[in-house]
């Protein structure tokens, strides 16, 4: 199960899932809830994701699919997140295209996870993000 119980208790994160396959989004949501996190929302397009981000509820972390319908892909959405100093994000992608990968890397994500994602790999990335945010919260 997620979390090894060592160190300070990391905070619960509110995660936005951007994924056009709804069943995959549901699965990712279950995995994140298994690790004690909360789902801030799921979005099928970048536009929907921005609506959630502009809403009143905070978002601590975003998972991004690379290929999205609606004209803007996950990397472009990541660039917007970077421009507006939005929440940290990770890519969860089914694409093996080296050009896609290079674009993903250039957006400085927390991680690039390949589909099908290993639950432990996802938990590890989210746990690290949660610890970093807890540390920052304590420092304030």
């Amino acid at each position: 199960m997620p979390g090894d119980g060592s160190g300070a208790r990391a905070r619960r994160l509110r995660v936005l899932i951007v994924e056009d396959e709804i069943l995959i989004a549901d699965y990712l949501a279950l995995l994140l809830e298994d690790a004690g996190h909360e789902i801030a929302g799921t979005a099928v397009t970048a536009k929907e994701a921005l609506e959630v981000l502009d809403g009143s509820d905070p978002v601590d972390l975003v998972t991004l699919d690379v290929r999205l319908p609606g004209g803007m892909d996950g990397v472009q959405l990541a660039e917007i997140l970077n421009e507006r100093s939005g929440p940290p994000f990770l890519f969860i992608t089914g694409s093996g295209d080296p050009v896609h990968r290079a674009r993903c890397e250039a957006a400085a994500p927390l991680a690039i996870l390949q589909k099908p994602v290993r639950p432990e790999a996802l938990w590890e990335v989210v746990e690290t993000a949660a610890r970093a945010q807890s540390a920052r919260a304590r420092g304030r």
Binding site: D26, G94, S95, G96, Q114, K115, P116, E120
Partner: protein
């Protein structure tokens, strides 16, 4: 368009250019008569769009020139245009990758332009086939991985809907099997050689994933030979490794921890031996379970053998031996 004309004889270069101008009026013609002019023609990553070369050049030959041109532009169309040729050289030229072979004579000179046009068209086709193939591969890869993710998601939903612990565990095993195949698939694609896969790297990644599921203190040691395995052997072998390692992690250590040793190497006959050894108090295998049945069936498919022995003072040693190709089993 850049056309490289390689010939020792300046008169023939002029004749060839005159003939080609009828077909490619606006092309830039680059005359090559020695190594210096060849270097200049291909300098700064300049790519030729067509090579017309004599067979025998004083300082090199047409085959070397083709190699140089294709290094700069892999799909570059090429024509051998020679007076010293014969049937044997014509066959060699086509086998080496020239698109056509034209004999130097006033009658054949007229054919040079038509041959060049055909060669350029073929080069275009080759290039677009190559691009389409890459696009198709990426599209298939994306679909495959998305679908594998969907399958794993569906297995997980089903598992969560079940009350029975045993049934849930069996679905968990099923999810791990699909995940193991996905890891292999990923390795295969990343290796860019779609026929063989680096099995050592696969085993490390597989174990890395499985260890996360069983966090009790199990140390793992690897003794892996980095040999590429043909894909039709790699798939059954990957599933076998998944079963043996999952079995050991589940049943051997009884939550007490211990050591797991994983080995993989080539045999003298070009086959492989996969070893999974534990020093746990439990049985690393349950001989009547589905896992071991799969291991035996997969070994049978590979024409191989499974050997399970007790380790002293405790633990289990599993060996799967796959014979090399060409050996009569």
């Amino acid at each position: 368009m850049r056309i490289v004309i390689a010939d020792d004889d300046p008169d023939f270069r002029t004749l060839a250019i005159r003939a080609l101008r009828r077909e490619f009026e606006d092309a830039e013609y680059i005359e090559v008569s020695d190594q210096d002019s060849l270097d200049r023609a291909l300098a700064f990553g300049r790519k030729p769009d067509l090579l017309v070369s004599d067979f025998s050049l004083g300082w090199t030959d047409g085959f070397e020139l083709l190699r140089a041109a294709r290094e700069a532009a892999p799909e570059c169309p090429a024509i051998m245009f020679t007076g010293t040729g014969n049937e044997e050289i014509a066959v060699r030229a086509i086998k080496a990758g020239f698109d056509d072979y034209v004999v130097k004579s006033s009658k054949q000179l007229r054919h040079l332009a038509a041959a060049a046009r055909m060669a350029v068209a073929r080069g275009d086709t080759r290039r677009s086939l190559e691009e389409n193939r890459d696009l198709l591969t990426q599209e298939l890869y994306h679909r495959l991985h998305n679908n594998l993710q969907l399958i794993i998601s569906l297995i997980s939903f089903t598992q969560r809907a079940l009350q029975d612990t045993d049934a849930r565990e069996k679905l968990d095993d099923l999810g791990r099997r699909v995940q193991a195949l996905s890891v292999l698939q990923e390795r295969l694609y990343r290796g860019r050689d779609y026929r063989r896969v680096g099995f050592a790297a696969f085993l490390r990644e597989l174990v890395d994933g499985l260890m996360g599921v069983h966090p009790e203190a199990v140390g793992v040691s690897f003794d892996l030979q980095d040999v590429p395995v043909p894909v039709d052997t790699a798939v059954p072998l990957a599933l076998t490794a998944n079963e043996l390692i999952t079995n050991a992690l589940k049943h051997a250590f009884k939550d007490r921890g211990g050591q797991l040793a994983i080995s993989f190497r080539n045999t003298d006959d070009g086959g492989y031996v996969l070893g999974v050894d534990d020093d746990g108090p439990g049985s690393g295998t349950s001989t009547d379970g589905l896992g071991m049945r799969l291991v035996r069936r997969l070994a049978q498919q590979l024409g191989g053998a499974v050997e399970i022995t007790a380790n002293r003072p405790r633990g289990t040693a599993c060996r799967v031996t796959v014979p090399g190709r060409g050996r009569v089993v």
